[in-house]
């Protein structure tokens, strides 16, 4: 019985962790290319949650279509935010500091806008698919399997884009050396805009999948943002593979932690682990040591 419980929790951890991975890969993508932290990442997640809620739970649009709508709208919103708030900061010498403040400001604006428009109530979104899979006595909701499938597919798609398309090549070139990439004809300013939109879209996809499990409210972005930060630091900022391994690792550790200690302490454990990792390996578990 205990083994079954542990296995079920591990499976759950992998499912939730795959969403952390999706969310965090957006953060790490932005860091890798633009060398900035996006404090508004959680608000893109939140807005996508509301879009799915309105499209699917209120207007009864097909969940797949609702997800696509949420992802596309949030992608466009990301592009708009990058163009209006971030873009001109990137041409200044100390943008790492100013972009943190600008995205934090954006996050406060979006969060309060949502609070004002839709109120602080939790809105429930029904499961996209009903039913449970019963495998050797371990019961897993189909919704969770769907989450796992979608995140695997999108991570592979992202990997394919990064490794095998011209866009991915331009993106990686910009991440490696923006000056050199520009000399070779890459329009790095457009790459920044696209990266930001793509990253927002990843947060949106994670939100669409998680909305039925976590319920939608204006503050739902804070927790994944903090966890996303833990994941990208653990995995090494800018490392795509690190974000995925880090995400799944955090998901499993958290799910197993619930079995052994009360849930209130899980955040404390996660963040203490983060501070310890930073102390010992400042560049993360999979990151490359940066020149100092």
């Amino acid at each position: 019985m205990l083994t079954q419980l542990v296995i079920a929790q591990i499976v759950n951890g992998i499912v939730v962790g795959s969403m952390y991975a999706l969310f965090a890969s957006g953060l790490t993508l932005i860091w890798g290319t633009m060398k900035m932290l996006n404090f508004a990442h959680g608000e893109f997640f939140m807005l996508a949650g509301y879009l799915v809620y309105f499209c699917y739970a209120v207007l009864s649009i097909d969940p797949a279509l609702a997800t696509v709508i949420a992802v596309v709208v949030v992608f466009l919103l990301g592009v708009v935010v990058e163009r209006t708030v971030i873009h001109h900061l990137l041409s200044r010498p100390v943008w790492q500091f100013t972009t943190i403040i600008a995205t934090l400001g954006t996050s406060i604006i979006l969060q309060n806008l949502a609070l004002h428009l839709w109120g602080p109530e939790f809105q429930n979104v029904p499961y996209f698919v009903e039913g449970m899979l019963n495998l050797f006595g371990i019961r897993i909701a189909y919704q969770r399997l769907l989450i796992l499938g979608v995140s695997c597919a999108s991570i592979m798609a992202l990997w394919f884009i990064l490794k095998h398309t011209r866009l991915g090549l331009a993106l990686r070139a910009t991440a490696q050396d923006a000056d050199a990439a520009q000399l070779y004809g890459v329009n790095i300013l457009s790459i920044y805009t696209l990266t930001f939109g793509l990253s927002a879209a990843l947060a949106a996809l994670a939100a669409a999948m998680l909305a039925p499990i976590t319920a939608v409210n204006p503050y739902m972005g804070l927790s994944p943002l903090l966890k996303g930060f833990v994941v990208v630091i653990l995995g090494g900022l800018g490392s795509f593979g690190g974000a995925i391994v880090g995400g799944v690792l955090l998901g499993v550790v958290e799910s197993l932690g619930v079995l052994f200690s009360s849930t209130e302490w899980s955040d404390v454990i996660a963040f203490t682990f983060l501070v310890l990792v930073i102390w010992i390996r400042p560049w993360g578990l999979f990151g490359v040591e940066e020149r100092s």
Binding site: P93, F97, I100, L104, S107, N112, L189, F271, L274
Partner: protein, 338 residues
Amino acid sequence: MVLRTEAWRRHGVIVAILGLLCFVPLLVHNPYLLHLFILSMLYAMLAGSWNLINGYAGIFTFGHQAFFGLGAYASALLAMHAGLSPWITLWFAGCVAALAGLAIGLPVLRIRSVAHVAIVTLAFAVIVQAVVANLPDFTRGTLGLAGIPSFTAFALPGIGIVSFGAGDQVAYYYVALVFLALSMAFMIWLVSGRTGLALKAIRDAEEAADSLGVDPTRYKLIAFVASSFVAGVAGAYYAHYLHILTPDSAIGVSIMVTILVMTLVGGIGTTIGPLVGAFVVTFGLEAMRGLGDYRLMVYGLLLVLFVTFAPNGLAQLRRARPQRHRGEAQGPKPPPKK
């Protein structure tokens, strides 16, 4: 506290502001207005201490609320359980915060990346908040700590007994003013002396400073510990002034956001910036009461607008100066916009 005459002249405006603040209780009798003045002074102290690490040492931290909250809870719990006078526990609170500053400063100073420092300091504050919230037997958890004792009364020659009861807001006002003046004097003394020079040298060119025998780690640690100490004392004052603490109100991220807005509005890296910013933002937000729920959104707008159009804050309007804050840039710099 020895201040050079040159330093006095440079900080004349600050002295003038503090001097004017002495007369406020003679003119303002509305308790709510006095409360706003007290809050402004408290935040000026807090934002000033954050500015010491960020504006002068050039390390962008995002967890200053941890030191404020640690100071607040340490002083409140000591006064409640050990029966000590808040006048004594206040300094303990400063020391607890300073120790925490030392503990988190050591790992943080090994990191050069702006992003890592911001996340680790934020993580530290989240840990402190979660621990305080998860120890209900000790801190009453999220319910909040209530019944924190007031400052004890004392006799002042020429004035008589100064007490801190429910109607004695003027007494609280002057205590806040004295603390603000002390902390400003301490920080001006620190930044206009050898430490300040060393910090600025490190901020602007760390390798060069290092090669000239200025130990970056030592001076950054001094800034970290001094800053945490001031934040801890400010937190202790907050606890004994409001008599109630919750993990959200005393250690929440919103405190950090407020500090950030105030420092940015006033001018980062200047001694006067946080002082001006604290008053402008506190009273400005109050003036916008009519906006209701939209007021918080103003914080966000202020952050975006100031960072875009006036990154050096209101201090910039006084005289044009080159951008002072230096993040330790890593990786490729985007080229100037065409």
